[in-house]
Symmetry: D2
């Protein structure tokens, strides 16, 4: 599935991935309100976060997975991961895990069949292509945001990070929730458009549009790679 990833930047005329779903009239209203017309920009110290790139989301063999967008995204993130490792940019990962007690699982809306499928530990295993190294922390979360109920925030502060490069699945779910939290905690959030994916194309595009209008920057992967390479 091809995605156009040139990003809309307010004044600057450019094709953005959401241009085919957000009506012109609405784009104009946002521009008039001054939203999305500037960039937050990269700070001094970035950390790369890879959200939920486990088989359960990447692969269609799981009920919540979507191979049609998942595997392409894996390959895009791989490039970023390689540069981050080379440039000593810290990498953090999130995933989830099966919990026996319903009170531990939270109030997710799921059918018994999906709950059953989520008992398979492979659903939570980060795909081999992106496997964390021993020195790269993985947080285990039960809520959409990778900050909720985890030590992610403390580690970002210990890394003295001011910028979060945010990737993973799914855009409109855990990625978006993580991005809103990161923004709320005062981090500059940069989402490389090809580094996130969603089983819903419209959910994907509208989430990125929303995020770019209000909270952080959605940029082409090439631009994020360029920034990281220059470190």
């Amino acid at each position: 599935m091809k995605q156009t990833v040139e990003i809309y930047r307010g004044g600057v005329k450019a094709m953005a991935i959401w241009d085919d779903v957000i009506p012109q009239e609405e784009l104009k209203r946002f521009a008039a309100g001054g939203m999305g017309t500037s960039l937050v920009g990269f700070g001094e110290k970035a950390v790369l976060l890879i959200v939920d790139m486990s088989y359960g989301f990447v692969d269609s063999s799981f009920p919540l997975g979507d191979s049609s967008v998942g595997w392409t995204t894996v390959h895009h993130i791989q490039k970023l991961q390689a540069v981050a490792r080379e440039k000593k940019v810290p990498i953090l990962y999130s995933t989830s895990e099966w919990k026996n007690n319903s009170v531990e699982r939270g109030l997710w809306k799921r059918t018994p069949e999906v709950t059953q499928a989520l008992k398979n530990p492979k659903a939570y295993r980060i795909v081999t292509e992106l496997a964390p190294r021993e020195d790269e922390p993985v947080v285990t979360k039960m809520a959409p945001s990778a900050f909720h109920g985890t030590d992610l925030l403390r580690m970002l502060i210990q890394y003295n990070a001011d910028t979060l490069i945010l990737t993973g699945m799914v855009t409109s779910g855990c990625v978006y929730a993580t991005g809103v939290d990161a923004f709320s905690f005062g981090f500059r959030v940069i989402i490389p458009a090809e580094g996130v994916a969603d089983r819903s194309q419209i959910g994907h595009k509208v989430a990125l549009f929303n995020f770019h209008m209000k909270y952080g920057d959605v940029l082409p992967m090439a631009e994020v790679l360029r920034y990281m390479s220059s470190k």
Copy 2:
């Protein structure tokens, strides 16, 4: 602006407000994944939260406001507020305030013109039609979620709430972020569709779709009024 508010509930065939923006194919994929096919349901003790119904969002005289949807929503929420008061359901409100120091304002993407407009205290004043009574707490927030940097969570716990009736503006921004946090903290979240609004129709619909698929229930206002009246 008329909105169709019959809600999609998985198995039950019904027109939902997002049916004109979410492609059939995607709706089917969600149904196949068991998402949105059941309701979280009301619990034992509900609290009504009214997010950011201030002139700055309700009224088009402010750059981020939208009268075309704001005032209708005010009137819908008024009915809920009246029943809540009658039935002794606690009501909480959120708004924001101007801060002189940029570090206090956070990293919102805004033009200097919008920032200037936000110095007007009226932008943060809750509209007269929904004015909080003295005994109804108002939290002041600087982040999208009404939980972030406020005492909302403690008050919900002191009220012994298990259910959050979530209303306000804007759907895809502060309402959505508040809803994700409420879900993450273990509350049943119910959004009456006519009780929320957004300057972007597609943002509004996709946010509600997303929320109903994963985290909580988007219901017609009539159903929420019925529940609250029966208390």
Copy 3:
């Protein structure tokens, strides 16, 4: 090590476990300020939390453990655990775990020798006498408070708890930090005096004094057992 556990309650004259360390003059100043002169009291729905009753704290074979107070406390908590199970009061546990990366371990002040000793998984194993049942959740934490970086809060909310019965080790460290968080989140916190212990007797007593003056109730275990049995 015998502890006197009658609790000081402001006006009511009674021997409290801290009476031998807090000077009379200071007790009077607190009473004059109206602190500790009333009880928060039990609410409607209690949860029992057992903090860090692992070999690393209970047993002197570990550098941070103290058998002289740990094992007595195990036996006291056992009684409470038994009644809680009988009365269907939910039980939650916290412990910690070894992390390979220093950034995951946080900024605890420890010598290399202590850090080395903490690699032993037995340090984090909850003592057999208090072993959690399969349906009793255990949260894994890296910070003093059992709320920090865990799902404890969400589970308390899902249990609809308004009261936290707080036990474990060590009083002045993880128990106290957990208690302050629970109070801050709006829970009634009850500490049965014999259900908590510390390697420092003065730390233990002053922490309980402080807590009882400001945030929650320190009660004799017998009173907490009586309350729980009456459910």
Copy 4:
């Protein structure tokens, strides 16, 4: 009230302010466990936090205030504040405010008389000697920790701080709770001993002892001034 402020540092023999209240035997046990035998140390970017130096705590005309230690502490903090301003070290303040609704006030253990006294706005006014400048943010809190329900954390992150210089009142209450949170969020916490005070001398000393053993560094004010002056 004179306080000895040379700080105990594990191996290094020195008089510490807590040496007259912590029994030798306990000091030895802590040293054997490797606690308090090293310093966390200053990082790269410090922020000065002044907790609750309002008339309600500083001055004995309020039921929770204590002039006998409050005013001396004001003068010590003034020196630090002056150097911080000169060296462009950001300064943040916390205080509280009166809330009409009991649900907004939380579960603090207070007599009706104390609650009555806390209606006076002067109780929350930061003393003139330490009055914040317009560009120095003040957070308003209802819980012990200055992080709880405030934007303090976001601002520290936006300042890119890794070190929190922690001062204010009262040591065993709001200062200690704030310090534990700062530690838990991954900040290096430095408490200048003369920059904190408590109505209870034993509470003060044991809190500092505890903090220095486990979470951060309690240093003589002179050392903190020297560090800040060298910036």
